[in-house]
Amino acid sequence: MNSHHDLDQAIRAAAKPVPSRVGRLPAQALLDQIVSSDPAPSGSRRPAYRVPAATRLILAAAMTAVCATVVSVTLPATMTGGESVAWASWTPTPSPLSATDATAVVDACLADTSYTPAEARAGQVVGEQRGDYAYLSVVTSAWTLSCFRDQDGRVRHVSEMVEPVSAAALGGHGVELTGWSQFRAGEGSVRLMAGRLGADVTAVEITVRGTGTRTVHATVRDGMFLAWYPEADASINRTLVTLHLRDGSTVDDLAAGDLHDAPALGD
């Protein structure tokens, strides 16, 4: 059972087969009941046509919570334009997140996961605020979890990673990217980064090179860092990480995508 295919086949072979039920009476009764009901009971009848494929892609990206009512779709801003309206309050330098806010975000975020408050209490929390948005990471010895609070107050867990690298392995100037996710927030797509740092790292700068160049300052605390930025089109951006060390030197231009695949371990 060396390949994924073999393992998947073994799992399927172990499963209990269940007969088809779509032809049975309960299914047919349900179908008849549904199609005889009003498709738009709220009064805002939807058009019975398909939305264009491009629009559907945006809808699909926004479907992390399908149960939420999607009234309108905000088109992604570009890196050089459009953000002045969509992300007006976002700042490249973070401000502290209050303890009250951090607790509230963690609270709401855990409800979206299988982790328990007891597990979270055993870890550490680092958070930041950029304008109207809050972002934080919960780091335990077994897992890390990142959570984002949008402008409308909605909190969602945006990334998690199990089995983070040990502090010993990170050494003095190592870095592990535990979160590297693109996420669709209310005003468009964002790139969220979270990670753990070696003991000698005092600051982290993120450089985003796309149609222009942008520098984002990360929150750094207790060997962890956080940063995020609006990112309309990941395909044109190259994101680099610069570590500032205690002795004044720097570790320059680490490619974020590479760090997510494999941490840079320090001395």
Partner: protein, 195 residues
Amino acid sequence: VNPPITDPEAAYRELFRATYDDLLLFVERRTHLALAEDVVAEVFLVAWRRFADVPTSRDEARAWLFTVAFHALRNRQRSDRRQQSLALRILREPDPRAVEADQAAARLDLVRAWKHLSVDDQQVLTLTVFEDLNGAQAAAVLGVTRTTFSVRLMRARRRLRRHLSHEAVPPPVHTAAVPARIADTARTADTGASA
């Protein structure tokens, strides 16, 4: 631009017939069997009311329904502790290729190993193996990035293999994911930023 649908009811009936069994199995793998039909009814009603949002591709429509079902289940689980952290059942549609008797022992080992996995591991494997979703579709169901899903899947497979080779490991104790406040404010008291 996709062509307009001239007969939405007929199109919906076709979608229902094509996906009902898969959706019912998706739900039955994740909740009490007695509740499964209620959840399926809820999901198909959402699909009827939001039919314009349902993708035209059958494969993508199926993934869309799974995503709605996943959220419906999660909402129910939040309000009903009995449903929290249920292990996933390994159920599948009938397969004409019958499993040979001499594979029974291997099946037993696999079932035992499956029980050692966490619910999260069972979840990613089920989405891939039984629900046959691709990485992007499965990531959308869970609300995580495709990369995150790939990492979880890789680790789940690794752990299942490990359990298959070490049958003596005791099953984990599943703890309920109960939303609650973080009492230890000392841990979250200082979340200051330094740039």
